[in-house]
């Protein structure tokens, strides 16, 4: 490193970001293709014949089953089915669900906002708890506070979501009656807001129906808390670990040696740096939650995509499961991309080239 080194050029940052986004999206295509083919084959290998399932009646004969099979195209060779499926997907057709009788795309579009709303709220809730807890634990390592935080996190991870969900229902609905009936996103008799974004909280807020907003939020709070508890541990532990590392770093020592105020050191120097790894973890946690919240959706009768896919899987209904997996894979790619971009904005060292 010679003393004469010039600073790197700082222009054209957004152009570079755009190029990188494009590259990343392109490089995701093979992975998505692989996911498609794999799910397709997996569904064919799994036991259960959808034709039998759907033709099943009191007196179904082989002829009816064969007819259904022909209707569904299941009598064609495997590669032909795959090609047809891929061709359909390129035209945005994910097939029809045998259980709901609707196009899978319609079903997913209808249910995705419910899942996203739940997951976002849970992640926000988890972050708003995990960050302060992690910071406090890092500032006082080895003290009572640290141990209490560790205990809470362990508890959150140890208790399965269906248990904690039922516990929350038992306490807040049955015993205290604070929470509303834990079935779905809104009380069945309540008025639904006009469909604008599909996110109830946003839609209610847009039409300024604050009573409806409160009702929707009340329905949301228990399932969101259940999920938040589950992901509290990775977020809080990560915050604590990276905060500890940063507090021990050379530049925090520099800030101390120059007499900066305590809060400035913790917030501007330590926390901002410590949040970088937490950002990465948050992306992973979000993607995991979206797929893994099937139990929560089931417990709270939440009309989300995960419970939809589970029902379809149990019914050997191929198209919804394949559609769901493709959707999850796409969201995973998008979330990772988003996190990468955010990281590039937050950390000037991350190369944007």
């Amino acid at each position: 490193m010679s003393d004469a080194a010039q600073p790197a050029p700082r222009g054209g940052k957004w152009g570079a970001v755009g190029r990188r986004v494009g590259m990343r999206l392109l490089s995701a295509v093979p992975a998505l293709f692989g996911v498609l083919v794999f799910t397709f084959l997996l569904m064919r290998v799994l036991p259960g014949d959808p034709a039998v399932f759907f033709a099943a009646g009191a007196n179904t004969g082989q002829a009816e089953i064969d007819m259904v099979r022909e209707q569904m195209g299941l009598d064609r060779p495997m590669h032909e089915q795959l090609l047809r499926y891929l061709w359909d997907i390129t035209r945005g057709n994910l097939g029809n669900s045998m259980t709901t009788g609707q196009p899978v795309r319609t079903d997913l579009v209808e249910r995705l906002p419910a899942s996203l709303e739940l997951t976002f709220s849970a992640l926000l809730l988890a972050l708003s708890l995990a960050l302060p807890l992690g910071i406090v634990a890092a500032l006082r390592p080895g003290t009572l506070v640290d141990h209490v935080v560790r205990f809470l996190c362990t508890l959150g991870v140890c208790v399965p979501t269906f248990v904690s969900g039922l516990l929350l229902i038992y306490v807040f609905y049955y015993l205290l009656a604070w929470a509303p009936d834990p079935t779905g996103r809104l009380d069945i008799f309540a008025a639904t807001p006009p469909e604008i974004t599909g996110f109830l909280l946003i839609d209610f807020a847009l039409v300024r129906d604050w009573e409806g907003w409160r009702a929707a939020a009340g329905q949301l709070i228990l399932p969101a808390s259940t999920m938040a508890l589950f992901v509290l541990a990775p977020l809080a532990r990560m915050t604590r670990a990276s905060m500890l590392a940063v507090l021990g770093s050379d530049f925090v020592r520099t800030a101390k040696s120059l007499g900066l105020s305590h809060w400035r050191i913790i917030v501007v120097y330590a926390l901002r740096n410590a949040l970088l790894p937490v950002l990465t973890i948050s992306g992973i946690v979000f993607s995991t939650m979206l797929g893994a919240n099937v139990l929560v959706e089931k417990v709270f009768s939440w009309p989300g995509v995960a419970s939809y896919a589970l029902d379809a899987l149990l019914a050997s209904d191929y198209a919804p499961v394949q559609g769901f997996v493709l959707l999850m894979a796409t969201i995973f790619v998008m979330v990772n991309l988003l996190i990468d971009i955010l990281y590039g904005v937050a950390d000037p060292r991350a190369s944007v080239a």
Partner: protein, 548 residues
């Protein structure tokens, strides 16, 4: 003010470790007048940095002052509270550190970091702070101060980062500056510019400075008074000129003897006898050179690390490669070890081309056992899960088909003994060995397969001078006894001069000058070589009398 600026009285510092308390500082006393410069020198573990951290209250949780007193301007600050410290730090005393890039917040622009310091001690607006930050960057001679105000630390070189650090440290005009190894890890020419700047700025502003360093030459050149520390005690203190010319304490004498100067020999460093002349006979006509490098190029993404380098090495000869970081010396050593592939060029070892074999297949080539390498960092280059025995045996198991486990053990023990590693240490793991012992393991591993060419990549850069002296002597003896060829890579010109018969000076991947070491160092031809030589801090008595 007439009284001393800083007074340290009978200071004791204890660290609580897993193996019980450790007394890092065992009763030292120092005094510093306003505007005075004091050098604190010592090897690792001497407690010199710990003392500085105690003064500024930056010791980590494990360390505590158990006894003694620290007074600043007559005020006792031994047990100063957080509030009192906030007022002192930055505005009355400040510190600059080793590894300047790590000492700056990586995700905040340098302008804002300087402004943070200014606003911590002055009631000024963000705009005023920015103006003054710009003035400070001008004061520390940053190139393009306006543009670099919004630069992040990773966009600046190490030397520039240290200038920014100095700007932050002087921002609120403190009376005392503590510089903890401020130029360790910087190139020798950068070290000179940074130290000159530091000396000038502190002198202009009447600041007192404590320079903590392992480099005696640096202390001699930039400090009026020097204190020598050994294992938590000040063993000797006095005016720099007197101390280095007529040291009283045996430790000071040993330290001075072990430091390479522009005239010392390897034997001088360890106060040994002059070595026997090398066994090397002139090469018989018709036998090949040990190594011949022709037109070597190595291109990385945008930079050309090695740019048309050619040289030769006779069997048993030692050749030094010197240069600053970015000169390509380490890249050349890795190319010749065939750890990486050259972009173009020819490497001929013992009459056979070895450049054609890709690096990832070279471990199967017959020449692999003939070319071995000693790495820079003795700790990182040893597998932490391997005992010393396994580390030395590793290349033997891979490359030599020894008839039996007993033969292997005999060979490992022989290598260890030749490298001065006691047999009982062979079962230890790297973390149980000292730096010097780890260096010996690394050397024993390199000579285990009885190579003919040893590539030494900064083998002593991470070691204390007294350990470096012993290791250099060991390497010199090994070469003379075995007729090994050495390719010795170093940034330390004095070390290369002592160890090598011929020297090549590199700059930005190109050869600037080459020739016999004695002649090259006595009368350098290239301007760059002269600049390098002039930048080395020294404490030779005759040189110190010269007007600065």
């Amino acid at each position: 003010m007439t009284g001393p600026l800083l007074e340290v009285e009978d200071l004791h510092i204890r660290f609580s470790t897993r193996r019980g308390p450790v007394e890092a500082v065992r009763g030292i006393s120092l005094r510093l007048a306003p505007g005075e410069t004091l050098g604190v020198v010592g090897e690792s573990g001497s407690g010199k940095s710990v003392t500085a951290y105690a003064v500024t209250h930056l010791l980590d949780r494990a360390g505590s002052i158990t006894q003694g007193r620290i007074r600043f301007r007559g005020r006792d600050i031994t047990r100063a509270g957080r509030h009192e410290l906030r007022e002192l730090r930055g505005s009355a005393m400040s510190m600059i550190f080793q590894n300047p890039r790590g000492a700056l917040n990586p995700i905040r622009t340098v302008g804002r970091q300087i402004a943070d310091v200014l606003r911590a001690h002055n009631a000024i607006t963000a705009r005023e702070a920015r103006e003054r930050a710009l003035d400070l960057l001008r004061a520390v001679l940053i190139r393009d101060p306006k543009g670099n105000l919004d630069a992040y630390p990773h966009e600046l070189s190490g030397g520039m980062c240290q200038r920014v650090m100095i700007a932050m440290a002087i921002a609120c005009e403190p009376a005392l500056m503590i510089a903890d190894e401020p130029t360790t890890g910087l190139d020798v020419t950068t070290q000179k510019t940074v130290m000159d700047l530091l000396a000038r700025i502190t002198a202009e502003r009447g600041m007192a400075m404590i320079l903590i360093t392992h480099d005696l030459g640096l202390a001699a050149q930039y400090c009026r008074r020097v204190a020598v520390m050994e294992r938590g005690l000040v063993v000797e203190e006095g005016a720099a000129a007197r101390l280095f010319q007529a040291p009283d304490h045996p430790y000071t004498r040993r330290l001075i003897a072990a430091s390479p100067t522009r005239t010392s020999t390897v034997a001088d460093l360890v106060e040994g006898d002059a070595p026997p002349p090398p066994r090397r006979a002139p090469r018989a006509p018709g036998t090949p050179l040990l190594l011949e490098v022709q037109g070597l190029f190595k291109q990385y993404a945008r930079t050309r690390a090695v740019d048309d380098v050619s040289f030769t090495l006779e069997p048993g000869e030692s050749l030094g490669l010197v240069g600053e970081s970015g000169s390509g010396k380490s890249t050349i050593s890795r190319l010749i070890c065939r750890l990486i592939d050259a972009t173009a060029g020819e490497i001929i070892f013992d009459g056979q081309s070895i450049a054609a074999t890709p690096a990832r297949h070279f471990h199967k080539a017959p020449q692999r056992r003939d070319i071995q390498i000693v790495f820079q960092d003795p700790t990182d280059s040893l597998n932490p899960r391997f005992s010393a025995f396994d580390s030395i045996a590793h290349p033997l198991r891979r490359l030599d088909r020894l008839p039996s486990e007993a033969a292997l053990r005999a060979r490992v023990e022989e290598c260890a003994e030749r490298c001065g590693l006691p047999r009982e240490l062979l079962d230890r793991f790297p973390h149980q060995l000292s730096g010097g012992q780890k260096a010996r393991v690394g050397i024993a591993r390199a000579i285990a397969t009885r190579p003919r060419l040893l590539v030494l990549d900064e083998p002593t850069a991470a070691l204390d001078v007294s350990v470096q002296a012993v290791i250099l002597k060991l390497l010199d003896d090994l070469r003379r006894e075995d007729g090994l060829g050495y390719l010795f890579v170093s940034h330390d010109l004095n070390v290369v001069r002592m160890m090598c018969e011929r020297t090549i000076v590199l700059r930005q991947g190109r050869i600037v000058e080459q020739g016999p070491s004695a002649a090259l160092f006595a009368a350098p031809q290239a301007a760059y070589t002269r600049e390098l030589l002039a930048a080395i801090p020294h404490f030779d008595p005759e040189a110190m009398r010269e007007p600065a």
